[in-house]
């Protein structure tokens, strides 16, 4: 059976310049993707979950034909993303930014009308379609306001409306709720679930584990250009279900403390979120097996130079999978 999205061993390397004093600085090679492979099934919401710089946007850009891979292949609705790019563009809708991608001096409706014309939609159909999408995304009342007056949440919703203009069966959403207030984010997630009910295939990227858990049928965890795990949120959480996790907040964090915790037998992963680098205020997530490991970890923490503020026991989450697999946290600061 034809999979709507299929990626095989995608590799992408970028060469960037680091700022120099007078002219442009040194070259730096960044390996964005190191052999990414996955498949997305028809009608499924598939999440690429990973922190910033993991390779999520690079993957979406290759799949949406905006970026050429160095190696590997990918297909969308059976069309090759390099050899049949024009065909791919016909069947995809893409939302790349939450707050950009518009003409600020045009209203929301005018922006949609412009792109509808570029998609060669019949003018009567386009008017109806725009009206429908504005209603779907709760933008009817603000449709005739200039986009420069829109909030980030409204712009994000308008971006999704633009991606849906030509009624594509496959949708790519890059961090659709980033920077949104909880209400707007909830609305966007509801829309994504509506799109799934309509039978569309959605590939979304996120670094928000709750979002991935809530809207995705399956999730691929991506870190440093590699997919480290794929499965339903339940399957992934089952991988760490027998493990336990605590979050320790402390003042006076140092790398040595983190390393000493990692070396304790039974500690499966430690990941740090540094809240105040100057004061050394940090939250350490420790995933472990067995109470003895926890006792030893806490003993090391209390006997260290750091001052422990709180210790919280946690339910297994997708982040724990991420911590165990990569030793990092999903969300920073």
């Amino acid at each position: 059976m034809l999979q709507p999205i299929k990626a095989e061993n995608l590799v992408k390397t970028f060469v960037t310049k680091e700022g120099g004093r007078l002219l442009r600085g040194r070259r730096r090679v960044v390996e964005a993707l190191k052999g990414v492979s996955f498949e997305v099934r028809k009608g499924e919401v598939f999440g690429l979950l990973g922190p910033n710089g993991a390779g999520k946007t690079t993957t979406i850009k290759i799949l949406s034909t905006l970026l050429l891979p160095d190696a590997g292949d990918a297909w969308v609705m059976g069309y090759h993303v390099v050899k049949e790019a024009a065909k791919v563009r016909e069947v995809i809708g893409v939302s790349l930014y939450s707050d950009r991608g518009f003409y600020w001096k045009l209203s929301g409706r005018e922006n949609l009308a412009y792109f509808a014309r570029l998609y060669h939609l019949d003018s009567k159909y386009a008017k109806e379609r725009i009206r429908y999408l504005l209603k779907l995304l709760d933008l009817e009342e603000d449709a005739d306001r200039l986009v420069e007056e829109y909030s980030t949440g409204m712009k994000s919703k308008l971006n999704i409306a633009r991606a849906l203009l030509h009624d594509p069966p496959v949708l790519f959403l890059d961090e659709p709720t980033i920077g949104l207030d909880p209400n707007s984010a909830r609305k966007v997630r509801e829309v994504i679930l509506d799109l799934k009910r309509e039978g569309r295939t959605v590939l979304l990227t996120t670094h928000n584990m709750f979002e991935a858990d809530m809207v995705c049928d399956r999730v691929a965890i991506i870190s440093k250009g590699r997919i480290v795990a794929v499965g339903t949120p339940s399957e992934l959480k089952a991988k760490v279900a027998e493990h336990k996790a605590v979050e320790v907040s402390l003042v006076g964090y140092s790398k040595t403390i983190e390393e000493s915790l990692r070396n304790i037998p039974g500690v499966l992963g430690v990941a740090t979120r540094l809240r105040d680098p100057v004061a050394g205020v940090a939250d350490l997530k420790v995933v472990y097996d067995g109470d003895l490991s926890l006792r030893e970890a806490l003993s090391k923490l209390f006997s260290s130079d750091a001052k422990v503020i709180s210790v919280k026991s946690m339910e297994p989450t997708l982040e724990d999978v991420f911590v165990v697999m990569t030793g990092e946290r999903l969300e920073e600061g």
Binding site: L67, V94, F102, K105, Y114, R162
Partner: protein, 271 residues
């Protein structure tokens, strides 16, 4: 449909910035006034008589207005076409055009055409103002020739703009290069003075600019039948058409090359 989309969008945005529009309309008069002031300072009361002898034009205000419209139009066109990639990248709309079933190069050229049409509207308003003030008229044929020549003189510059965009967008130096090119076009097109003031080598270079031919033809139009020196009207039109094809082809080749490299290097969206 695509051309219509671009024109509607550009006109809406332009007419929402009325200040810019008024400034563009006023600039030909400002530059014209400045040139006439310099002429008077150099030649005194006989400035206009000398001007008529040297150019065959007895109406310096109309002449400098037409030259000004052509100059401002060419500057806007080169700068807009050269800057469009950067501007759209900064707004986040650049990549979105790639996702639509259109040739992106044609899309940017349609933006240039839209700018050219706007220039024509300004030309009509500015020239009509001068004519109304002086109580004279251009014949409908003269209007038509002026409009077509302006369009033919400006559109090839879109090719130059696109070439500048393709060559410089990576280094984010689009506007610096576009402004240097605009200065050369302004100096070598003879918008305000006959090109005969320059040495033969410079005049030869100026023949490579469609605007220099457009300026010469417009000079003929306002000089009431006194033909400009050099080529005949049809010869100039043929040269402009050839230059148009050459520059647009150059723009297309360089733009396509940049586009392929940008898709590979991930620079379509860099801003």
């Amino acid at each position: 449909m695509t051309l219509f989309a671009v024109i509607v969008k550009e006109m809406k945005i332009t007419f929402r910035y009325l200040g810019s529009l008024l400034m563009i309309a006023a600039m030909p008069f400002m530059f014209g006034g400045m040139m006439m002031g310099v002429g008077y300072a150099v030649a005194g009361p006989s400035a206009f008589a000398n001007f008529a002898v040297n150019t065959g034009v007895g109406n310096p205000l109309l002449y400098t207005t037409l030259g000004g419209v052509l100059m401002i139009g060419s500057m806007i066109l080169v700068e807009n076409t050269a800057g469009i990639i950067r501007e759209e990248q900064m707004m986040g709309t650049f990549e979105l055009h790639y996702l639509t079933p259109n040739s992106t190069m044609m899309l940017w050229l349609f933006h240039s055409l839209s700018t050219s049409l706007l220039t024509l509207i300004i030309l009509a308003v500015d020239v009509a103002t001068v004519l109304a003030w002086q109580g004279s008229l251009l014949s409908p044929v003269d209007w038509l020739v002026a409009a077509l020549v302006t369009l033919l003189g400006l559109l090839p510059l879109a090719g130059i703009g696109l070439a500048v965009a393709a060559l410089t967008v990576r280094f984010k130096e689009v506007w610096a290069v576009a402004n240097v090119i605009n200065s050369f076009i302004a100096m070598l097109s003879g918008f305000y003075y006959p090109l005969e003031v320059f040495p033969a080598a410079v005049r030869l270079i100026s023949t490579a600019l469609p605007t220099s031919h457009a300026a010469q033809i417009l000079r003929g139009v306002v000089s009431e039948g006194v033909s400009a020196t050099g080529l005949l009207l049809w010869e100039r039109v043929a040269v402009m058409a050839a230059l148009g094809v050459a520059y647009l082809l150059l723009g297309r080749i360089l733009y396509s090359r940049w586009e392929d490299e940008a898709r590979s290097r991930g620079e379509l969206s860099k801003y």
